[in-house]
Amino acid sequence: MIALGVAACGSSSDSSGSATASSGGGPITGAGSTFVAPLMSKWQADYASKTGDTVTYGAIGSGGGIEQITARTVDFGASDAPMTQDQLNACKGCVQMPWSLGAVVPAYNLSGAPNNIHLTGPVLADMFLGKITTWNDPEITKLNPGVNLPSTKITPVYRSDGSGDTYAFTDYLSAVSSEFKSQVGVGTEVKFPTGTGASGSDGVAAAVSKTDGAVGYLTIAYVNSNGFDYALEQNAAGNYPKATIPAINAAAATAKSVPPLGVSIVDPPASAANAWPDSTFTYVILPTSSDKADALKAFVNYAIGPGQSFAESLGYGTLPKQVIADDKTALNKVGG
């Protein structure tokens, strides 16, 4: 918890603004998702320079974000997993809307193997269920003709702390494997039957990089900046796209509307031929009644508008038009 506290301090640029309350513009405070934190720090700096208003953000984790906005100790929350109906009821008058999106990829460390080997969702699920235990298992080799895979033992690495990455990854594996769905299920914290846990993206990265044969899940931005190998997942169209921004956006484009409980874009239909199959939205949570309603609306309008221009360089997708339109409708429910 100390480590989380330090991380939170590191990413919130200024806490002086939270004390003063003013209607219309003015400083606001939020907390939650670590996934959105790198983009948020760009937004904070840019928004402050354009409007002079401070946005204070604590990257305390998605679960913490939901808790803080439910208790109204912050002005907005942020979560990678959309709130469930129960959580939404507990939040008493909250709306959630996607404000960014990204991809989770299976990063691996396998000496003697090339980058971007091919996997299907069900095979990946079996690796994390402990049913496929070596890298040269026929289920894997038949997806990679011409690639000589070593007999190294597979060591699945997962997040031992609550994480939006875990949510996106288990959401995807549950969509493609009924056995994974019934045995493990979807959540920010789940029980993996095998493998090694690690705390934080840094912990997963360290465990993967230090263990030959390890496979863990990380966001594509993290994988790119650390130079890890990652496996290409077969999408519904049978293709193996790289987890590029267009591939994430192609998955997002399949979201035709945003219902109140959020929208999942994992395993998109075959019509999205080049979509990355494990893409996910991340959400901002706003109270429908707030004395900072105007400031909140102004900031979210910025984030889903001009703020999207920073997404691509940081490895996030850009929100599709229909999602932005639904977000604006949802924003109208926020009032004083």
Binding site: M1, V186, T196, S199
Partner: protein
């Protein structure tokens, strides 16, 4: 006594008026310090109350069975603590198994064997080890210690002692063993400095007697210093154990956070403290309550450890006064 000695010169210089101020100052000091003392009691009580309140729904749902089952499945809302109790027990007892002889050796060296001039610098160095922030030890554990143990120490231990299930043939850079080593590094400064103080209470006459009877230094240490200090050493070890049981951050970083009870100490496990640290933020209400239940177990354990250690220390102190 000490306050009288400190105020005497100033009241001599400034006469009666100053004495009145001093009396008021003493009273204020008394009240402030009393308040601080009461506050710490209130905080302890408040924490205990909150932890039990948080744990309430898990205690009523799972009862004592929580302590003996080992399924921790947040999605299906099943919680059992046995694997974390196992992880805590093995990692901290294992750490103390390594740390205790090491600490006794350090303390003996510093009190009986080391040249007088080198004692203080070495003691300071050992105690500085206690000042390394645990998150830094944990990072070092992930990046340096874990891979080293995985590549070198664990295969060697397996080759020599592989017939014991504890030293099974599967290796991992994160797991119980790296956690033990990190906890050893964290507890040695505590145990060795306490042990050193205990050794200092051994009456010189007893030691001189042993030497006068023709004993070697080794005889002197085994016949007088160690037997005389036994309760104090046990107390020091209990306090070290208490430290090891409660450590969360560094252990979270190196233990691997994997559920399950395995005899093999080379593979990942999880402790109570690191489970709380890792999962609390993102947990559902029942999951949080189950983590609160873990905290209750930890709290009770630490009160027991601390209480027993305190009783033992009191015994040593009383004896030190007599001699």
């Amino acid at each position: 006594m000490t306050t009288d000695a400190a105020t005497a010169p100033s009241s001599l210089l400034s006469g009666q008026g100053r004495g009145l101020v001093d009396r008021f100052g003493d009273r204020a000091l008394y009240l402030i310090t009393l308040l601080a003392a009461i506050l710490s009691g209130v905080i302890l009580g408040g924490i205990t109350y909150e932890v039990f309140k948080l744990a309430g729904s898990a205690i009523s749902k799972f009862g004592l069975g929580f302590l003996t089952t080992s399924n921790w499945d947040p999605v299906h809302e099943q919680f059992g603590a046995a694997q974390f109790i196992y992880g805590t027990a093995v990692s901290s007892f294992g750490a103390l198994l390594i740390a205790t002889p090491l600490s006794i050796a350090i303390a003996l060296f510093l009190t009986e064997l080391a040249p007088r001039r080198s004692r203080t610098p070495i003691a300071v160095l050992v105690e500085l080890l206690a000042g390394v922030p645990s998150v830094i030890l944990g990072l070092w554990g992930i990046l340096v210690l874990g891979p080293f143990l995985n590549d070198t120490v664990e295969p060697a231990l397996h080759a020599a002692l592989g017939w014991i299930p504890l030293f099974g043939g599967t290796y991992s850079p994160v797991g119980l063993f790296p956690a033990m080593v990190i906890l050893t590094i964290m507890t040695v400064p505590i145990v060795s400095s306490l042990t050193r103080e205990v050794f200092a209470t051994v009456p010189p006459s007893a030691k001189e007697g042993a030497l006068a009877l023709g004993g070697t230094r080794w005889d002197m240490m085994t016949t007088t210093v160690l037997p005389y200090s036994r309760p104090g050493i046990i107390a020091a070890v209990m306090l070290g154990l208490w430290r090891a049981v409660g450590e969360a951050i560094a252990v979270t970083q190196v233990i691997g956070g994997a559920p399950g009870i395995h005899a093999n100490i080379f593979i990942p496990a999880q402790t109570m403290a690191s489970q709380i640290a890792a999962q609390y933020q993102g947990a559902s209400p029942l999951n949080q309550s189950a983590l609160g239940y873990l905290a209750v177990v930890l709290l009770i354990l630490s009160l027991v450890f601390n209480g027993v250690a305190r009783l033992l220390v009191r015994g040593v102190q009383r004896r030190a006064k007599v001699s």
